[in-house]
C-alpha cells in the first residue's frame, strides 16, 4: 500500500473538507410529519398504491411508538430529545422532470460530486465502478446503467425500481428489515424518499463495483434513504457506499435502512466508508447516524460480508447484521469505528445462526480519541437447528489520550450444543514506548499515531476494495487530527 505520509499530513492539516454547501434551488415540503406528509411524498414519487399503503402502515406503527416514547434508549449514547416535527422530510434539487442523460443534470450538482472526488460523467469514471448519487432525498444520477443492463443487472434509484420493477420491490421490500422492526426503521419506511436498488440475476457476477454516494445538502432536513440489494442464485456483487454532509451547527438526522438478500450460492459484499459531518471540536453540530442494516443469507452456501469504516457523524447507532438461514451460509462483519472530539458511536453486529453449518466472523476495531466514546455491541445467536454453527469474534479497542472511553457489550446465546464459539477481546492504549520508537526513527508524532492506528486497523482494511482502503487510511488520519498534544 503506497500511502504517502505527505498526503496524509496535508490532509491532516485540513478541517472537514467536505463541509461546503451547494447553492441550488431545492424543492422541499414544510417541516413536520403526518399522514398527509406521507401522502405528499408518495404522490411526488408517483408511487403505486401498495407503496403508499406500506408507508402509511409504517407511519402508524412509528407514531404509536413515538407516543409511547419507545425511541430506543439502550444504546450507550447521549443526545437531547429529537423533535420529529421540526424536520423536513422531503427535499430535492429542482430539475427537469426527466433526465435523458447526465448532461441534463444541474451543473452545480455535477460540480459538487466532482469536488467530492466522485465524477459522474461516465467517460471520466474510474473503470470498474458504477455510481448512484443520492443528493438530499433523491437519486440524481446513476452511471453505467446501460452496460449493466446488458447483463440483466438492475442498478437504479429506489424510485425507479418502484416504478419499473414493482414485482421485485414488492417481493423483497421489508423482507429482511420489516417496517415494524424498530423505531428508526419504521420512521424510514414511512418517509424514505430514495436510495439505491440492485438486482443481480441468476448466475451473474457483477463485473464492476457498484457504489452509492450519499450527500446531505439542505439544512434542517433529514435523510432517509433505503437500499435493497438482491443477489439471485449463484450471483455475486460488491457494493460500496460513501457519505458526506456540509458543516452545520444544528444536528441532522440520518435514518437509513439497508436490506440485502442472498439466495442460493449468492454472495454480497457491502463496504461503507461513513464520513458524515462529525460536529466541531466542541461537539456542536454533526449528523445523527441511526441506521438499520441487515442481510439475509436466505439460500444455501450464500455469503454476506459487511465492512465498515465509521469516522464521521456526531452519533453512530448501527449494527449491520446477518441472518444465516441457508445451510452452510457465511456472515462476516469487519468494522473500524473511530470517535474523536465529542463523537459517540454504539456499533456492532448481530449474527443469527439458523441453518446448519453456518459460520460467522466478527472483527471489530474501535478507536477512541479526545472525548470520544466508542461502544461495541454485538450479538451472536445460535438457534436450536443450527447444527455445527461456528462463530469467531475479535473485538479490540485502542485508546488515545485519557479522556475518551471504550466499552464492549458482547451478547452470546447458544441453543445448540454442537456450536463452536471463540471470543477474543483486547483494550490497549497507544503506548509512549511505541510513539518514542517511531519518533526516534524520524516520524512526526502525528504520523506515528497514524501509523499505529493504521496497523491496528489492518485486519479490516484489507477487506476493503483497494481504492477504498487508501481512502479509509487517509480518512483516519484526518479524523485523528489534534488527537496528540
Amino acid at each position: 500500500m503506497s500511502t504517502n505520509l505527505d498526503t496524509i499530513r496535508d490532509l491532516a492539516e485540513r478541517e472537514y473538507k467536505w463541509g461546503f454547501i451547494t447553492d441550488i434551488e431545492e424543492e422541499r415540503i414544510p417541516k413536520g410529519l403526518s399522514e398527509d406528509v406521507i401522502r405528499i411524498i408518495s404522490a411526488k414519487k408517483q408511487e403505486p398504491e401498495f407503496m403508499l399503503e406500506w408507508r402509511l402502515k409504517a407511519y402508524r406503527h412509528w407514531a404509536s411508538l413515538e407516543k409511547s416514547q419507545a425511541e430506543p434508549k439502550w444504546a450507550n449514547v447521549k443526545y437531547p430529545a429529537i423533535d420529529y416535527q421540526n424536520i423536513v422530510y422531503y427535499s430535492a434539487p429542482k430539475q427537469k422532470p426527466k433526465l435523458e442523460s447526465l448532461d441534463q443534470l444541474d451543473p452545480e450538482i455535477l460540480r459538487t460530486y466532482e469536488k467530492l472526488g466522485i465524477p459522474l460523467t461516465e467517460q471520466k469514471m474510474l473503470a470498474g465502478v458504477a455510481v448512484d448519487a443520492v443528493f438530499d432525498s433523491v437519486s440524481v444520477a446513476t452511471t453505467f446503467k446501460g452496460k449493466l443492463a446488458e447483463l440483466g443487472i438492475i442498478f437504479c434509484s429506489f424510485s425507479e425500481a418502484v416504478r419499473n420493477h414493482p414485482e421485485l420491490v414488492k417481493k423483497y421490500l421489508g423482507s429482511v428489515v420489516p417496517a415494524s422492526d424498530n423505531f428508526f426503521a419504521a420512521l424510514n419506511a414511512a418517509v424514505f424518499s430514495d436510495g439505491s436498488f440492485v438486482y443481480v440475476p441468476k448466475g451473474v457476477r457483477c463485473p464492476m463495483e457498484l457504489s452509492t454516494y450519499f450527500r446531505i445538502n439542505a439544512a434542517e432536513t433529514g435523510q432517509f434513504e433505503r437500499t435493497l440489494i438482491v443477489a439471485d442464485d449463484g450471483a455475486s456483487v460488491s457494493y460500496l457506499e460513501g457519505c458526506t454532509a456540509p458543516i452545520r451547527d444544528e444536528n441532522q438526522l440520518h435514518a437509513a435502512v439497508v436490506e440485502l438478500v442472498a439466495l442460493d450460492n449468492a454472495q454480497i459484499k457491502y463496504s461503507t466508508v461513513q464520513n458524515w459531518y462529525p460536529g466541531d471540536k466542541q461537539g456542536k453540530g454533526g449528523i445523527y447516524n441511526f441506521v438499520t442494516k441487515r442481510g439475509k443469507c436466505a439460500g444455501v452456501n450464500s455469503k454476506i460480508s459487511w465492512t465498515q469504516v465509521e469516522t464521521g457523524s456526531a452519533i453512530t447507532w448501527k449494527y449491520p447484521s446477518c441472518i444465516l438461514q441457508g445451510d452452510n451460509s457465511v456472515g462476516e462483519f469487519y468494522s473500524v469505528a473511530l470517535t474523536n472530539n465529542y463523537q459517540q458511536a454504539d456499533t456492532g453486529t448481530k449474527m443469527i445462526h439458523i441453518g446448519k453449518n453456518t459460520r460467522s466472523t466478527i472483527v471489530s476495531k474501535g478507536i477512541s480519541a479526545g472525548h470520544g466514546q466508542n461502544t461495541y455491541r454485538g450479538q451472536v445467536k445460535i438457534l436450536k437447528g443450527a447444527q455445527g454453527a461456528r462463530n469467531y469474534t475479535q473485538c479490540d479497542s485502542l485508546l488515545i489520550g485519557d479522556k475518551c472511553g471504550a466499552h464492549t457489550f458482547p451478547y452470546i446465546e447458544v441453543r445448540n450444543s454442537s456450536a463452536r464459539m471463540e471470543h477474543e477481546a483486547s483494550t490497549s492504549k497507544i503506548g509512549e514506548d511505541q510513539m518514542f520508537y517511531l519518533r526516534q526513527r524520524g516520524l512526526k508524532a502525528e504520523d506515528a499515531v497514524s501509523m499505529i492506528v493504521n496497523g491496528f486497523c489492518k485486519r479490516v482494511f484489507r477487506e476493503l476494495p483497494m481504492e477504498f482502503a487508501v481512502e479509509a487510511q487517509k480518512l483516519l488520519s484526518v479524523s485523528l487530527e489534534g488527537s496528540v498534544g
Partner: protein, 247 residues
C-alpha cells in the same frame, strides 16, 4: 569540532537523580564503549541522547554537530542523524517491516529536502541490507518486531541503522539476549558501518561484545558518573576486577 560534546550532564527520572555530571567528547570516526553495572545510568544516557521526553535534564548541555541537542525533539534528533538501537525494540502490529523502514527513511530524506524513495527503489536497498544482517526475506512484510525472536529484534535494529546511515549511533545493550552466532552477525553489521564520518556509542554490560566490536575508548559509568576512561584494554581489565573503583 567534535561530533558530540556532553558537558556536566545531570538527569532526573521521577525526581531521582540518575546522571550526576557526565562529561564526554566523541569525535566522528570513533567508537566509544560505556560500561557499568546495572542501574549505573547507561540506558538513561542513551535515552537522553535520543531525546526521550520522560527524562528531565536539570543541568549541563549536549552539543551535537554544532547544535544544541537538548533543544531538539526526538524526531528532529533522529533526522539530524542520531540513532538509538533499542535494548527492547517495540512491536508495531499491522505495520510491515519494509513499509515502516521506508517511511522512516523518507521522513529523514524529506527533512533534508531530498525526494522520497518509492517502493521500487527502496526494495533493492532493503534486500542488500537484509543480506548484510543475514536476515530472512520473510521479515520484509512481517509486522515490525512482532513475533521476532530476541536475536531477530536486535538484528532488525542494526538493519535500520544500516538503512538510515546515522552520524551518531547509540547501541543500547545490543548484545543482551544474543547467542554467539547472532552476536557475530550483529557485530559484523556494526563493523561494516564503522566509518570516518560516523561515531558510535556502545552501551554494554559485558566485555564479550567488545571482542567483536573493538572500541577506541572505554568509559566506566558507576552511580551516574564516569569513574574511569581508557583504551580497549580497560574492558579486559574490568572483566577481571569488576566495576569496583580501584582505591
Amino acid at each position: 569540532m567534535s561530533l558530540l560534546e556532553i558537558k556536566n550532564l545531570h538527569v532526573k527520572v521521577d525526581n531521582h537523580e540518575i546522571l550526576k555530571g557526565i562529561d564526554l567528547t566523541v569525535n566522528a570516526g570513533e567508537v566509544h564503549s560505556i560500561m557499568g553495572p546495572n542501574g549505573s545510568g547507561k540506558s538513561t544516557l542513551a535515552q537522553v541522547l535520543a531525546r526521550r521526553e520522560a527524562y528531565d535534564v536539570t543541568e549541563g548541555q549536549i552539543i551535537y554537530n554544532g547544535k544544541d541537542l537538548l533543544e531538539m525533539k526526538a524526531e528532529d534528533a533522529a533526522c539530524e542523524g542520531v540513532f538509538l538501537a533499542f535494548q527492547y525494540p517495540v512491536e508495531i502490529p499491522g505495520i510491515g517491516n519494509a513499509y515502516f523502514m521506508r517511511s522512516a527513511l523518507n521522513a529523514v530524506r524529506k527533512y533534508h529536502g531530498l525526494d522520497e524513495m518509492d517502493a521500487m527503489d527502496f526494495l533493492p536497498l532493503f534486500r542488500e541490507k537484509l543480506k548484510l544482517l543475514e536476515m530472512d526475506e520473510k521479515l520484509l512484510n512481517r509486522s515490525v518486531n512482532e513475533g521476532f525472536s530476541g536475536g531477530e529484534k536486535k538484528r532488525n535494529e542494526i538493519l535500520q541503522m544500516a538503512l538510515l546511515e546515522p552520524k551518531l549511533a547509540v547501541l543500547d545493550e545490543t548484545d543482551s539476549g544474543l547467542d554467539i552466532d547472532a552476536l557475530r552477525i550483529v557485530a559484523k553489521g556494526v563493523n561494516t558501518l564503522r566509518s570516518p564520518d560516523r561515531a558510535m556509542i556502545v552501551v554494554t554490560h559485558y566485555q564479550r561484545l567488545l571482542n567483536y566490536i573493538v572500541p577506541d575508548f572505554v568509559h566506566v559509568l558507576v552511580n551516574g558518573r564516569i569513574v574511569r576512561s581508557g583504551g580497549p584494554e580497560l574492558a579486559l581489565q574490568l572483566e577481571e576486577t569488576g566495576y569496583a573503583v580501584p582505591a
